[in-house]
Symmetry: C2
Subunit: 201 residues, 2 copies
Amino acid sequence: MPKPIEFHFDFSSPYSYLASEQIEALAARHGRTVDYKPVLLGAVFKASGGAPLTEQYGPKASYAKRDFERSARFAGVRYKQPSRFPIGSVTAKRSVVWLQQHQPEQVAPFIHAVYRAFFVDDRDISDAAVVSDIAREVGIDPDALASGVQQPEVKERLRALVDHAIAAGIFGAPTIIVDGEPFWGNDRIPQIERWLEKGAF
Amino acid sequence: MPKPIEFHFDFSSPYSYLASEQIEALAARHGRTVDYKPVLLGAVFKASGGAPLTEQYGPKASYAKRDFERSARFAGVRYKQPSRFPIGSVTAKRSVVWLQQHQPEQVAPFIHAVYRAFFVDDRDISDAAVVSDIAREVGIDPDALASGVQQPEVKERLRALVDHAIAAGIFGAPTIIVDGEPFWGNDRIPQIERWLEKGAF
């Protein structure tokens, strides 16, 4: 069996969102599945000395916003720069962890719904009540989820994912790992496609 | 007449090199020419707070080197990480400026020769004698060039290009501008191609 594609992502990352809208079809074209790995970019940036693009040097921040929107149009993905950005999303990420353990078939629909709530509909995904609403909209029992994300082992599992990502040298999102080969950024999707199609190059 | 494509570059930038190997064919496919604009990335980084990728956080620097080589293979461009990196290249850039004023037909051949000397043959392009050798190899009179790059107006013109680039919001290389639209990075070439083919999107 070919290994799943590791998709390390943060809900507050525009390029992770753009890649999330393409990665499953890409994986499926090559007989792969996607293993979603939430990370906390804030913790990653603390380790790496990085910062959100929109908080960097003025012209770079302006370019980044222009490029988020243009790259979305290029990929045919709906995008609207959120009014709250960047945003914390620890509840949404713990939700992913809980779903992976209890309702794995809901992981991908939930991730897509959270991303679209943030990057299309400008909803406040840092708010646990909004996360509950999104869960309900995709058919997840919001009460079970709300108590699930409070479990110590769920919190611990997310912390461990973040620690593992930092130890593995992840410094940004999305980081997409194919058979051990890391690709950073939505713009590496063409390289990933070739890697899956023809093997290492 | 459609406007030339502005290609802002530094000789010490791997992604500028990769783009330089593709930009003329890309421009020609769409009836455009390339206007080469040397910048001094050191001065740009001073303004922007940036740094060469290979001098950033360890895992990011390691990834960058891996990505330079993989992106070169992906593009079908020869590449060998230079042993001296990053490198100063002010003489080579002043040479570009002088050639633009006196032998414009030699600009592109000289740029490609300098890039390949550095990124394929690991030559020390910071050395004025090496720049002279490269000039000779592409049929430029090295003595005329060596005295040309000493002219105050050539030095001033390069400084003005750098100041203009910073004032225009350029923060990295390559920055490729098509009809006023900036694209940062070799990995934006597919977007540039669509822009040239179908217009703004």
